[in-house]
Protein backbone atom coordinates (compact mmCIF):
# COMPACT_ATOMS: atom_id res chain seq x y z
CA UNK A 1 0.00 0.00 0.00
CA UNK A 2 1.59 3.25 -1.03
CA UNK A 3 -0.65 5.71 0.72
CA UNK A 4 -3.03 5.17 3.63
CA UNK A 5 -5.10 8.08 4.84
CA UNK A 6 -7.18 7.53 7.95
CA UNK A 7 -9.85 9.93 9.19
CA UNK A 8 -7.81 12.96 8.18
CA UNK A 9 -9.09 16.32 9.43
CA UNK A 10 -7.52 19.60 8.40
CA UNK A 11 -9.20 22.87 9.33
CA UNK A 12 -8.57 26.43 8.23
CA UNK A 13 -8.33 29.10 10.87
CA UNK A 14 -10.38 32.16 10.02
CA UNK A 15 -11.79 35.05 11.98
CA UNK A 16 -15.24 33.55 12.13
CA UNK A 17 -13.96 30.24 13.36
CA UNK A 18 -12.60 27.05 11.93
CA UNK A 19 -13.51 26.06 8.40
CA UNK A 20 -13.70 22.30 8.26
CA UNK A 21 -12.20 22.02 4.80
CA UNK A 22 -11.20 18.39 5.25
CA UNK A 23 -13.42 16.62 7.70
CA UNK A 24 -12.53 13.03 8.20
CA UNK A 25 -11.44 11.33 5.02
CA UNK A 26 -10.25 7.73 4.82
CA UNK A 27 -8.90 6.17 1.67
CA UNK A 28 -5.84 4.55 0.22
CA UNK A 29 -3.87 4.67 -2.98
CA UNK A 30 -2.18 1.47 -4.12
CA UNK A 31 1.31 1.13 -5.55
CA UNK A 32 1.20 2.06 -9.19
CA UNK A 33 -2.24 3.59 -8.92
CA UNK A 34 -3.07 6.88 -10.61
CA UNK A 35 -5.95 8.35 -8.71
CA UNK A 36 -7.95 11.27 -10.05
CA UNK A 37 -9.30 13.53 -7.33
CA UNK A 38 -12.30 15.52 -8.48
CA UNK A 39 -14.73 17.98 -6.96
CA UNK A 40 -15.97 21.54 -7.06
CA UNK A 41 -13.85 24.33 -5.67
CA UNK A 42 -14.31 24.23 -1.91
CA UNK A 43 -14.79 20.48 -1.90
CA UNK A 44 -11.55 20.00 0.01
CA UNK A 45 -9.57 18.41 -2.81
CA UNK A 46 -6.88 21.12 -2.78
CA UNK A 47 -6.72 21.05 1.00
CA UNK A 48 -6.17 17.31 0.82
CA UNK A 49 -3.42 17.71 -1.77
CA UNK A 50 -1.68 20.42 0.23
CA UNK A 51 -1.98 18.53 3.51
CA UNK A 52 0.00 15.64 2.08
CA UNK A 53 3.00 17.81 1.29
CA UNK A 54 2.94 21.16 3.08
CA UNK A 55 0.29 22.84 5.22
CA UNK A 56 0.02 26.57 4.63
CA UNK A 57 0.06 29.02 7.51
CA UNK A 58 -3.64 28.97 8.20
CA UNK A 59 -4.12 25.21 8.01
CA UNK A 60 -4.21 23.06 11.09
CA UNK A 61 -3.93 19.31 11.27
CA UNK A 62 -6.72 18.43 13.66
CA UNK A 63 -6.74 14.67 13.51
CA UNK A 64 -6.21 11.51 11.56
CA UNK A 65 -3.08 9.91 10.17
CA UNK A 66 -1.33 9.60 6.87
CA UNK A 67 0.99 6.70 6.16
CA UNK A 68 3.24 6.55 3.15
CA UNK A 69 4.90 3.18 2.49
CA UNK A 70 4.24 2.27 6.10
CA UNK A 71 5.78 5.43 7.58
CA UNK A 72 3.57 7.97 9.34
CA UNK A 73 3.97 11.49 8.00
CA UNK A 74 4.16 14.24 10.66
CA UNK A 75 1.84 16.63 8.80
CA UNK A 76 2.01 19.52 11.25
CA UNK A 77 5.76 19.29 11.79
CA UNK A 78 7.19 21.42 8.99
CA UNK A 79 10.80 20.31 9.48
CA UNK A 80 9.86 16.70 10.12
CA UNK A 81 8.01 16.68 6.81
CA UNK A 82 11.16 17.70 4.98
CA UNK A 83 12.39 14.11 5.14
CA UNK A 84 9.41 13.05 3.05
CA UNK A 85 9.25 15.96 0.67
CA UNK A 86 10.79 15.53 -2.76
CA UNK A 87 12.06 12.01 -1.98
CA UNK A 88 8.83 10.29 -0.89
CA UNK A 89 6.13 12.74 -1.83
CA UNK A 90 6.45 15.43 -4.44
CA UNK A 91 4.30 18.07 -6.04
CA UNK A 92 3.64 19.50 -9.45
CA UNK A 93 1.99 22.75 -8.44
CA UNK A 94 -0.85 24.59 -10.10
CA UNK A 95 1.46 27.57 -10.53
CA UNK A 96 4.09 25.76 -12.58
CA UNK A 97 4.52 28.81 -14.79
CA UNK A 98 5.93 30.82 -11.87
CA UNK A 99 7.42 28.01 -9.80
CA UNK A 100 10.99 28.53 -10.98
CA UNK A 101 13.26 31.14 -9.46
CA UNK A 102 13.41 33.87 -12.13
CA UNK A 103 16.98 34.92 -11.34
CA UNK A 104 18.69 31.53 -11.63
CA UNK A 105 19.49 29.51 -14.69
CA UNK A 106 17.42 26.36 -14.52
CA UNK A 107 20.35 23.97 -14.41
CA UNK A 108 21.98 25.90 -11.61
CA UNK A 109 18.76 26.09 -9.63
CA UNK A 110 18.21 22.35 -9.88
CA UNK A 111 21.79 21.73 -8.85
CA UNK A 112 21.49 23.98 -5.81
CA UNK A 113 18.18 22.46 -4.83
CA UNK A 114 19.56 18.92 -5.00
CA UNK A 115 22.69 19.86 -3.10
CA UNK A 116 20.67 21.55 -0.39
CA UNK A 117 18.81 18.25 0.04
CA UNK A 118 22.06 16.35 0.25
CA UNK A 119 21.66 14.73 -3.17
CA UNK A 120 24.35 14.67 -5.81
CA UNK A 121 23.19 16.37 -9.02
CA UNK A 122 23.70 14.10 -11.99
CA UNK A 123 23.75 16.09 -15.16
CA UNK A 124 23.37 13.09 -17.46
CA UNK A 125 20.29 11.80 -15.66
CA UNK A 126 18.75 15.25 -15.67
CA UNK A 127 19.32 15.57 -19.39
CA UNK A 128 17.79 12.15 -19.99
CA UNK A 129 14.69 13.10 -18.04
CA UNK A 130 14.35 16.34 -19.95
CA UNK A 131 14.53 14.37 -23.16
CA UNK A 132 11.66 12.19 -21.94
CA UNK A 133 9.39 15.23 -21.83
CA UNK A 134 10.70 16.53 -25.14
CA UNK A 135 13.06 19.24 -23.90
CA UNK A 136 16.61 19.68 -25.07
CA UNK A 137 19.39 19.98 -22.51
CA UNK A 138 19.83 23.61 -23.57
CA UNK A 139 17.03 24.63 -21.23
CA UNK A 140 19.41 24.06 -18.32
CA UNK A 141 21.39 27.08 -19.43
CA UNK A 142 18.34 29.27 -19.79
CA UNK A 143 16.49 31.50 -17.39
CA UNK A 144 12.80 30.67 -16.83
CA UNK A 145 11.75 33.79 -18.70
CA UNK A 146 13.32 32.41 -21.85
CA UNK A 147 10.98 29.40 -21.86
CA UNK A 148 7.37 29.20 -22.95
CA UNK A 149 4.68 28.34 -20.42
CA UNK A 150 4.47 24.77 -21.64
CA UNK A 151 8.24 24.34 -21.43
CA UNK A 152 8.30 25.69 -17.89
CA UNK A 153 5.60 23.24 -16.91
CA UNK A 154 7.57 20.36 -18.34
CA UNK A 155 10.70 21.50 -16.52
CA UNK A 156 8.74 21.53 -13.28
CA UNK A 157 7.42 18.06 -13.99
CA UNK A 158 10.96 16.81 -14.48
CA UNK A 159 12.29 18.56 -11.35
CA UNK A 160 9.47 17.30 -9.15
CA UNK A 161 10.02 13.67 -10.15
CA UNK A 162 13.81 13.75 -10.13
CA UNK A 163 14.14 11.75 -6.90
CA UNK A 164 11.58 9.11 -7.95
CA UNK A 165 8.97 9.84 -5.28
CA UNK A 166 6.50 7.25 -4.08
CA UNK A 167 3.64 9.66 -4.42
CA UNK A 168 3.33 12.50 -6.89
CA UNK A 169 0.63 15.08 -6.41
CA UNK A 170 -0.36 16.97 -9.54
CA UNK A 171 -2.49 19.94 -8.50
CA UNK A 172 -4.81 21.29 -11.21
CA UNK A 173 -1.91 21.30 -13.59
CA UNK A 174 -3.96 21.40 -16.74
CA UNK A 175 -6.36 24.20 -15.89
CA UNK A 176 -4.23 26.90 -17.52
CA UNK A 177 -3.55 24.97 -20.70
CA UNK A 178 -5.23 24.59 -24.05
CA UNK A 179 -6.73 21.27 -25.06
CA UNK A 180 -3.81 19.82 -26.98
CA UNK A 181 -1.31 20.72 -24.23
CA UNK A 182 -3.66 19.19 -21.66
CA UNK A 183 -3.53 15.99 -23.57
CA UNK A 184 0.27 16.11 -23.78
CA UNK A 185 0.62 16.71 -20.06
CA UNK A 186 -1.72 13.83 -19.31
CA UNK A 187 0.34 11.53 -21.50
CA UNK A 188 3.55 12.64 -19.82
CA UNK A 189 2.15 11.88 -16.38
CA UNK A 190 1.18 8.43 -17.56
CA UNK A 191 4.70 7.96 -18.89
CA UNK A 192 6.21 8.83 -15.50
CA UNK A 193 4.26 6.02 -13.88
CA UNK A 194 4.87 3.50 -16.65
CA UNK A 195 8.62 4.08 -16.55
CA UNK A 196 8.60 3.71 -12.78
CA UNK A 197 9.78 7.24 -12.08
CA UNK A 198 6.92 7.65 -9.64
CA UNK A 199 5.09 4.88 -7.86
CA UNK A 200 1.63 6.36 -7.38
CA UNK A 201 -0.02 9.54 -8.37
CA UNK A 202 -2.82 11.76 -7.23
CA UNK A 203 -4.13 14.00 -9.99
CA UNK A 204 -6.25 16.79 -8.58
CA UNK A 205 -8.62 18.26 -11.11
CA UNK A 206 -12.06 19.68 -11.56
CA UNK A 207 -12.21 18.15 -15.00
CA UNK A 208 -13.32 14.53 -14.79
CA UNK A 209 -13.30 14.12 -18.53
CA UNK A 210 -9.59 14.83 -18.64
CA UNK A 211 -8.52 12.77 -15.68
CA UNK A 212 -10.58 9.86 -16.98
CA UNK A 213 -8.08 9.43 -19.77
CA UNK A 214 -5.18 8.57 -17.47
CA UNK A 215 -6.54 7.67 -14.07
CA UNK A 216 -6.97 4.11 -12.81
CA UNK A 217 -9.37 5.26 -10.14
CA UNK A 218 -11.30 8.44 -9.52
CA UNK A 219 -12.25 9.82 -6.13
CA UNK A 220 -14.96 12.46 -5.85
CA UNK A 221 -15.11 14.86 -2.91
CA UNK A 222 -17.96 17.00 -1.73
CA UNK A 223 -17.93 19.63 1.02
CA UNK A 224 -14.86 18.35 2.83
CA UNK A 225 -15.80 14.67 2.66
CA UNK A 226 -15.44 11.77 0.29
CA UNK A 227 -18.44 10.99 -1.87
CA UNK A 228 -17.29 8.14 -4.03
CA UNK A 229 -14.20 6.30 -5.16
CA UNK A 230 -14.18 3.72 -7.93
CA UNK A 231 -12.18 2.48 -10.90
CA UNK A 232 -12.26 5.23 -13.49
CA UNK A 233 -14.52 3.59 -16.04
CA UNK A 234 -16.93 2.37 -13.36
CA UNK A 235 -17.19 5.83 -11.85
CA UNK A 236 -17.87 7.42 -15.20
CA UNK A 237 -20.23 4.80 -16.60
CA UNK A 238 -21.96 3.55 -13.46
CA UNK A 239 -21.66 6.08 -10.63
CA UNK A 240 -23.64 5.30 -7.48
CA UNK A 241 -23.52 8.51 -5.45
CA UNK A 242 -26.24 10.97 -6.51
CA UNK A 243 -23.69 13.80 -6.54
CA UNK A 244 -21.36 11.87 -8.84
CA UNK A 245 -24.31 11.00 -11.05
CA UNK A 246 -25.20 14.61 -11.50
CA UNK A 247 -21.56 15.51 -12.02
CA UNK A 248 -21.20 12.90 -14.76
CA UNK A 249 -24.49 13.76 -16.44
CA UNK A 250 -23.38 17.38 -16.54
CA UNK A 251 -20.24 16.35 -18.41
CA UNK A 252 -19.96 17.80 -21.86
CA UNK A 253 -18.04 16.29 -24.70
CA UNK A 254 -14.42 15.61 -23.89
CA UNK A 255 -12.26 18.69 -24.17
CA UNK A 256 -14.75 21.40 -23.36
CA UNK A 257 -13.42 23.54 -20.53
CA UNK A 258 -14.95 23.01 -17.15
CA UNK A 259 -15.28 26.67 -16.20
CA UNK A 260 -17.70 27.23 -19.01
CA UNK A 261 -20.36 25.07 -17.50
CA UNK A 262 -19.88 25.10 -13.76
CA UNK A 263 -22.31 22.35 -12.75
CA UNK A 264 -25.41 24.08 -13.96
CA UNK A 265 -27.31 20.83 -13.61
CA UNK A 266 -27.23 20.78 -9.81
CA UNK A 267 -29.45 23.34 -8.10
CA UNK A 268 -28.37 24.91 -4.81
CA UNK A 269 -24.95 25.48 -3.23
CA UNK A 270 -22.64 23.38 -1.10
CA UNK A 271 -23.12 24.01 2.63
CA UNK A 272 -20.88 26.36 4.59
CA UNK A 273 -17.99 24.48 6.11
CA UNK A 274 -17.80 26.90 9.02
CA UNK A 275 -20.61 25.09 10.84
CA UNK A 276 -21.51 22.27 8.51
CA UNK A 277 -24.85 20.54 9.13
CA UNK A 278 -24.75 17.03 10.56
CA UNK A 279 -25.47 14.01 8.44
CA UNK A 280 -24.91 13.79 4.72
CA UNK A 281 -23.71 17.14 3.45
CA UNK A 282 -25.26 16.69 0.05
CA UNK A 283 -28.76 16.10 1.29
CA UNK A 284 -30.06 19.63 0.69
CA UNK A 285 -29.31 19.28 -2.98
CA UNK A 286 -30.02 15.59 -3.26
CA UNK A 287 -33.11 14.37 -5.12
CA UNK A 288 -33.02 11.08 -3.20
CA UNK A 289 -32.71 12.50 0.30
CA UNK A 290 -34.78 10.86 3.07
CA UNK A 291 -34.83 10.74 6.89
CA UNK A 292 -31.78 8.54 7.29
CA UNK A 293 -29.64 11.15 5.54
CA UNK A 294 -29.66 13.16 8.78
CA UNK A 295 -27.14 10.58 9.85
CA UNK A 296 -23.66 10.54 8.33
CA UNK A 297 -23.44 7.68 5.78
CA UNK A 298 -20.23 5.58 5.98
CA UNK A 299 -17.78 5.50 3.09
CA UNK A 300 -18.55 1.88 2.42
CA UNK A 301 -17.22 -0.57 -0.12
CA UNK A 302 -20.24 -1.57 -2.19
CA UNK A 303 -18.29 -3.53 -4.78
CA UNK A 304 -14.59 -4.44 -4.94
CA UNK A 305 -12.69 -1.14 -5.08
CA UNK A 306 -15.90 0.86 -5.23
CA UNK A 307 -16.59 3.03 -2.19
CA UNK A 308 -19.68 5.22 -1.77
CA UNK A 309 -20.88 7.44 1.04
CA UNK A 310 -24.63 7.21 0.48
CA UNK A 311 -27.45 5.32 2.17
CA UNK A 312 -29.08 4.62 -1.16
CA UNK A 313 -26.00 3.42 -2.94
CA UNK A 314 -26.77 -0.31 -2.97
Amino acid sequence: MALNVTDLRVYYRTLRGEVKALDGVTFSVADGEIMGLAGESGSGKSTLAKSLIRLDGRMRHVGGTVELDGKTMPLSDDTGMDRFRFREVSLIPQYSMSALNPTRKIGKMVGELLESRGERPERAELERRLELVGLSKDVLDRYPIELSGGMKQRVVMVVSTLLNPSLLIADEITSALDVSSQKAVATTLLGFRDRGLVTSMMVVTHDISLVYQIADTIMVMYAGRLAEKAPADVLVTAPRHPYTKQLISALPEVGVRYEDRRLTGIPGNPPSLLKPPGGCRFRDRCPLAFEQCAEQPPFAEVAPGHFVACWKAE
Binding site: R13, L15, G57, R58
Partner: protein, 280 residues
Protein backbone atom coordinates in the same frame (compact mmCIF):
# COMPACT_ATOMS: atom_id res chain seq x y z
CA UNK B 1 -15.28 41.81 4.48
CA UNK B 2 -15.49 45.38 5.77
CA UNK B 3 -15.78 44.07 9.30
CA UNK B 4 -12.81 41.86 8.77
CA UNK B 5 -10.69 44.83 7.73
CA UNK B 6 -11.87 46.76 10.78
CA UNK B 7 -11.15 43.80 13.00
CA UNK B 8 -7.56 43.64 11.80
CA UNK B 9 -7.22 47.42 11.83
CA UNK B 10 -8.04 47.63 15.54
CA UNK B 11 -5.68 44.79 16.35
CA UNK B 12 -2.80 46.07 14.25
CA UNK B 13 -0.31 47.60 16.65
CA UNK B 14 1.51 49.53 13.96
CA UNK B 15 -1.65 51.13 12.69
CA UNK B 16 -2.96 51.99 16.14
CA UNK B 17 0.33 53.47 17.36
CA UNK B 18 0.81 55.47 14.18
CA UNK B 19 -2.71 56.86 14.27
CA UNK B 20 -2.46 57.81 17.93
CA UNK B 21 0.81 59.68 17.40
CA UNK B 22 -0.62 61.59 14.43
CA UNK B 23 -3.76 62.40 16.41
CA UNK B 24 -1.78 63.69 19.38
CA UNK B 25 0.29 66.03 17.24
CA UNK B 26 -2.73 67.13 15.27
CA UNK B 27 -4.57 68.05 18.44
CA UNK B 28 -1.49 69.85 19.76
CA UNK B 29 -1.25 71.80 16.52
CA UNK B 30 -4.93 72.69 16.50
CA UNK B 31 -5.49 73.40 20.18
CA UNK B 32 -1.99 74.40 21.30
CA UNK B 33 -1.95 77.89 19.81
CA UNK B 34 -5.19 78.70 21.66
CA UNK B 35 -3.20 78.61 24.90
CA UNK B 36 -1.27 81.71 23.97
CA UNK B 37 -2.29 85.33 23.75
CA UNK B 38 1.03 86.11 22.04
CA UNK B 39 2.30 85.13 18.61
CA UNK B 40 4.97 82.46 18.11
CA UNK B 41 7.67 84.97 17.19
CA UNK B 42 6.95 87.53 19.91
CA UNK B 43 9.67 88.27 22.43
CA UNK B 44 7.92 87.23 25.60
CA UNK B 45 10.49 85.96 28.02
CA UNK B 46 14.09 86.04 29.14
CA UNK B 47 16.66 85.04 26.53
CA UNK B 48 18.04 81.50 26.45
CA UNK B 49 15.94 80.23 29.33
CA UNK B 50 15.90 76.44 29.71
CA UNK B 51 12.55 74.61 29.87
CA UNK B 52 10.49 75.62 32.90
CA UNK B 53 6.92 75.65 34.14
CA UNK B 54 6.31 78.90 32.34
CA UNK B 55 8.15 78.14 29.10
CA UNK B 56 7.77 74.40 28.63
CA UNK B 57 10.36 74.14 25.90
CA UNK B 58 12.46 77.10 27.07
CA UNK B 59 13.18 80.22 25.05
CA UNK B 60 15.38 81.20 22.11
CA UNK B 61 18.35 83.56 22.13
CA UNK B 62 15.84 86.34 21.61
CA UNK B 63 13.44 85.27 24.32
CA UNK B 64 10.84 83.70 22.03
CA UNK B 65 8.74 80.89 23.50
CA UNK B 66 9.91 77.63 21.87
CA UNK B 67 6.75 75.76 22.85
CA UNK B 68 4.57 78.41 21.22
CA UNK B 69 6.70 78.17 18.08
CA UNK B 70 6.42 74.40 18.21
CA UNK B 71 2.63 74.21 18.29
CA UNK B 72 2.25 76.91 15.65
CA UNK B 73 4.94 75.15 13.63
CA UNK B 74 2.97 71.90 13.80
CA UNK B 75 0.13 73.65 12.00
CA UNK B 76 2.41 74.72 9.18
CA UNK B 77 3.92 71.26 8.96
CA UNK B 78 0.57 69.49 8.76
CA UNK B 79 -0.73 72.04 6.30
CA UNK B 80 2.19 71.72 3.92
CA UNK B 81 2.06 67.93 4.21
CA UNK B 82 -1.65 67.69 3.47
CA UNK B 83 -1.67 70.26 0.66
CA UNK B 84 1.51 68.96 -0.95
CA UNK B 85 0.41 65.34 -0.48
CA UNK B 86 -3.06 65.95 -1.91
CA UNK B 87 -1.74 67.82 -4.91
CA UNK B 88 0.96 65.23 -5.64
CA UNK B 89 -1.57 62.42 -5.25
CA UNK B 90 -4.00 64.21 -7.57
CA UNK B 91 -1.41 64.75 -10.29
CA UNK B 92 -0.08 61.23 -9.82
CA UNK B 93 -3.57 59.77 -10.08
CA UNK B 94 -4.51 61.70 -13.20
CA UNK B 95 -1.27 60.83 -14.95
CA UNK B 96 -1.28 57.23 -13.73
CA UNK B 97 -4.92 56.55 -14.56
CA UNK B 98 -4.81 58.12 -17.99
CA UNK B 99 -1.49 56.52 -18.94
CA UNK B 100 -2.48 53.10 -17.63
CA UNK B 101 -5.99 53.15 -19.05
CA UNK B 102 -5.40 54.69 -22.46
CA UNK B 103 -2.09 53.04 -23.25
CA UNK B 104 -0.58 53.66 -26.67
CA UNK B 105 1.07 56.95 -27.46
CA UNK B 106 -0.66 58.76 -24.57
CA UNK B 107 1.02 56.29 -22.25
CA UNK B 108 4.38 56.74 -24.00
CA UNK B 109 4.15 60.49 -23.67
CA UNK B 110 3.07 60.53 -20.03
CA UNK B 111 5.65 57.91 -19.23
CA UNK B 112 8.32 60.10 -20.72
CA UNK B 113 7.10 63.07 -18.69
CA UNK B 114 6.97 60.98 -15.52
CA UNK B 115 10.48 59.72 -16.06
CA UNK B 116 11.85 63.18 -16.63
CA UNK B 117 10.33 64.60 -13.47
CA UNK B 118 11.40 61.46 -11.66
CA UNK B 119 15.08 61.85 -12.49
CA UNK B 120 15.20 65.57 -11.76
CA UNK B 121 16.30 65.97 -8.15
CA UNK B 122 13.16 67.56 -6.70
CA UNK B 123 14.68 69.49 -3.84
CA UNK B 124 17.24 71.15 -6.06
CA UNK B 125 14.53 72.25 -8.51
CA UNK B 126 12.56 73.59 -5.57
CA UNK B 127 15.64 75.47 -4.38
CA UNK B 128 15.95 77.27 -7.70
CA UNK B 129 12.28 78.15 -7.87
CA UNK B 130 12.02 79.30 -4.28
CA UNK B 131 15.24 81.28 -4.40
CA UNK B 132 13.71 83.55 -7.00
CA UNK B 133 10.45 84.00 -5.13
CA UNK B 134 10.58 87.21 -3.16
CA UNK B 135 7.63 86.38 -0.95
CA UNK B 136 7.13 82.73 -0.01
CA UNK B 137 4.08 81.21 1.62
CA UNK B 138 3.11 77.74 2.78
CA UNK B 139 0.57 77.49 -0.04
CA UNK B 140 3.13 78.21 -2.75
CA UNK B 141 5.62 75.90 -1.09
CA UNK B 142 3.05 73.09 -1.05
CA UNK B 143 2.12 73.85 -4.65
CA UNK B 144 5.65 73.37 -5.91
CA UNK B 145 6.29 70.36 -3.69
CA UNK B 146 3.15 68.77 -5.08
CA UNK B 147 4.20 69.51 -8.64
CA UNK B 148 7.59 67.85 -8.22
CA UNK B 149 6.86 64.81 -6.07
CA UNK B 150 4.14 62.94 -7.98
CA UNK B 151 6.13 60.77 -10.42
CA UNK B 152 6.63 57.58 -8.41
CA UNK B 153 2.97 57.66 -7.44
CA UNK B 154 1.98 58.05 -11.08
CA UNK B 155 4.16 55.11 -11.99
CA UNK B 156 2.71 52.86 -9.32
CA UNK B 157 -0.88 53.86 -10.13
CA UNK B 158 -0.25 53.33 -13.82
CA UNK B 159 0.90 49.79 -13.18
CA UNK B 160 -2.17 49.04 -11.05
CA UNK B 161 -4.51 50.57 -13.59
CA UNK B 162 -2.86 48.57 -16.29
CA UNK B 163 -3.65 45.34 -14.51
CA UNK B 164 -7.25 46.36 -13.82
CA UNK B 165 -7.87 47.60 -17.34
CA UNK B 166 -8.50 44.22 -18.87
CA UNK B 167 -10.70 42.88 -16.08
CA UNK B 168 -14.24 41.74 -16.83
CA UNK B 169 -16.07 44.53 -15.08
CA UNK B 170 -14.07 47.18 -16.88
CA UNK B 171 -14.67 45.47 -20.22
CA UNK B 172 -18.36 45.33 -19.42
CA UNK B 173 -18.49 49.03 -18.64
CA UNK B 174 -16.58 49.85 -21.80
CA UNK B 175 -18.81 47.68 -23.94
CA UNK B 176 -21.90 49.31 -22.50
CA UNK B 177 -20.59 52.64 -23.72
CA UNK B 178 -19.56 54.22 -20.43
CA UNK B 179 -17.17 57.11 -21.02
CA UNK B 180 -13.53 56.82 -20.03
CA UNK B 181 -13.46 59.31 -17.13
CA UNK B 182 -16.48 57.61 -15.66
CA UNK B 183 -14.94 54.15 -16.00
CA UNK B 184 -11.82 55.36 -14.24
CA UNK B 185 -13.84 56.99 -11.48
CA UNK B 186 -16.46 54.29 -11.00
CA UNK B 187 -14.71 51.06 -11.86
CA UNK B 188 -10.97 51.46 -11.53
CA UNK B 189 -10.36 53.93 -8.71
CA UNK B 190 -12.64 52.18 -6.18
CA UNK B 191 -10.87 48.89 -6.85
CA UNK B 192 -7.57 50.34 -5.77
CA UNK B 193 -8.80 52.77 -3.15
CA UNK B 194 -6.73 51.22 -0.38
CA UNK B 195 -3.68 51.48 -2.58
CA UNK B 196 -4.41 55.12 -3.37
CA UNK B 197 -4.76 55.88 0.31
CA UNK B 198 -1.40 54.29 1.08
CA UNK B 199 0.16 56.33 -1.71
CA UNK B 200 -1.27 59.52 -0.26
CA UNK B 201 0.14 58.76 3.18
CA UNK B 202 3.62 58.33 1.77
CA UNK B 203 3.33 61.54 -0.26
CA UNK B 204 2.11 63.32 2.86
CA UNK B 205 5.20 62.23 4.78
CA UNK B 206 7.64 63.08 2.03
CA UNK B 207 6.07 66.53 1.51
CA UNK B 208 6.73 67.27 5.18
CA UNK B 209 10.36 66.22 4.87
CA UNK B 210 10.94 68.21 1.69
CA UNK B 211 9.34 71.30 3.18
CA UNK B 212 11.50 70.96 6.28
CA UNK B 213 14.64 70.81 4.14
CA UNK B 214 13.62 73.91 2.21
CA UNK B 215 12.86 75.76 5.41
CA UNK B 216 16.17 74.71 6.85
CA UNK B 217 18.14 75.99 3.86
CA UNK B 218 16.44 79.33 4.35
CA UNK B 219 13.79 79.11 1.67
CA UNK B 220 10.83 78.58 3.97
CA UNK B 221 7.77 80.80 4.25
CA UNK B 222 8.82 84.40 4.71
CA UNK B 223 6.09 84.90 7.31
CA UNK B 224 5.14 82.77 10.29
CA UNK B 225 6.81 79.73 11.73
CA UNK B 226 7.26 76.06 10.90
CA UNK B 227 9.24 73.22 12.42
CA UNK B 228 11.80 73.48 9.62
CA UNK B 229 12.17 77.23 10.16
CA UNK B 230 12.77 76.62 13.85
CA UNK B 231 15.66 74.31 12.95
CA UNK B 232 16.92 76.91 10.52
CA UNK B 233 16.85 79.64 13.18
CA UNK B 234 18.42 77.43 15.80
CA UNK B 235 21.31 76.58 13.46
CA UNK B 236 21.67 80.16 12.25
CA UNK B 237 21.81 81.65 15.72
CA UNK B 238 24.29 79.11 17.08
CA UNK B 239 21.94 77.17 19.33
CA UNK B 240 24.40 74.27 19.12
CA UNK B 241 27.41 76.22 20.26
CA UNK B 242 25.38 77.91 22.99
CA UNK B 243 24.01 74.57 24.17
CA UNK B 244 20.36 75.55 23.69
CA UNK B 245 19.29 71.93 23.06
CA UNK B 246 15.66 72.78 23.83
CA UNK B 247 15.61 74.93 20.73
CA UNK B 248 16.63 72.34 18.15
CA UNK B 249 15.46 69.07 19.67
CA UNK B 250 11.66 69.61 19.70
CA UNK B 251 11.16 70.65 16.07
CA UNK B 252 13.26 67.78 14.70
CA UNK B 253 11.66 65.31 17.07
CA UNK B 254 8.24 66.57 15.99
CA UNK B 255 8.98 66.04 12.30
CA UNK B 256 10.51 62.64 12.93
CA UNK B 257 7.56 61.52 15.05
CA UNK B 258 4.97 62.68 12.52
CA UNK B 259 6.70 61.26 9.46
CA UNK B 260 7.67 58.07 11.27
CA UNK B 261 4.09 57.62 12.47
CA UNK B 262 2.86 58.07 8.90
CA UNK B 263 5.27 55.42 7.63
CA UNK B 264 4.34 52.99 10.39
CA UNK B 265 0.64 53.65 9.73
CA UNK B 266 1.29 52.88 6.09
CA UNK B 267 2.78 49.49 6.90
CA UNK B 268 -0.02 48.75 9.34
CA UNK B 269 -2.66 49.60 6.76
CA UNK B 270 -0.87 47.53 4.17
CA UNK B 271 -1.06 44.56 6.50
CA UNK B 272 -4.75 45.20 7.09
CA UNK B 273 -5.56 45.44 3.40
CA UNK B 274 -3.26 42.65 2.29
CA UNK B 275 -4.04 39.43 4.17
CA UNK B 276 -0.82 37.77 3.02
CA UNK B 277 1.23 40.16 5.14
CA UNK B 278 -0.72 39.58 8.33
CA UNK B 279 1.20 37.82 11.02
CA UNK B 280 -0.62 34.76 12.21
Amino acid sequence: MRNEALHFALRNRKLVVGTVVIAVFLVAGLAGPLMFDHGPNDYVGPAMAPPSGEFWFGTTTFGQDVFAQFVYGLRATFLVGVLGGVLAAAVGMVVGFVAGYRGGWVDELLNMLTNIVLVLPALVVLLIINAYLGVRSIGVQALFIGLTSWPWAARAIRAQTFSLRSRDFVDLARLSGVRTPKIILREIAPNMSSYLFLTFILLFGSAILVAASLDFIGLGPTQGVSLGLMLNNAARWSALQLGLWWWFIPPGAGITAIVGALYVMNVGLDEVFNPKLREM
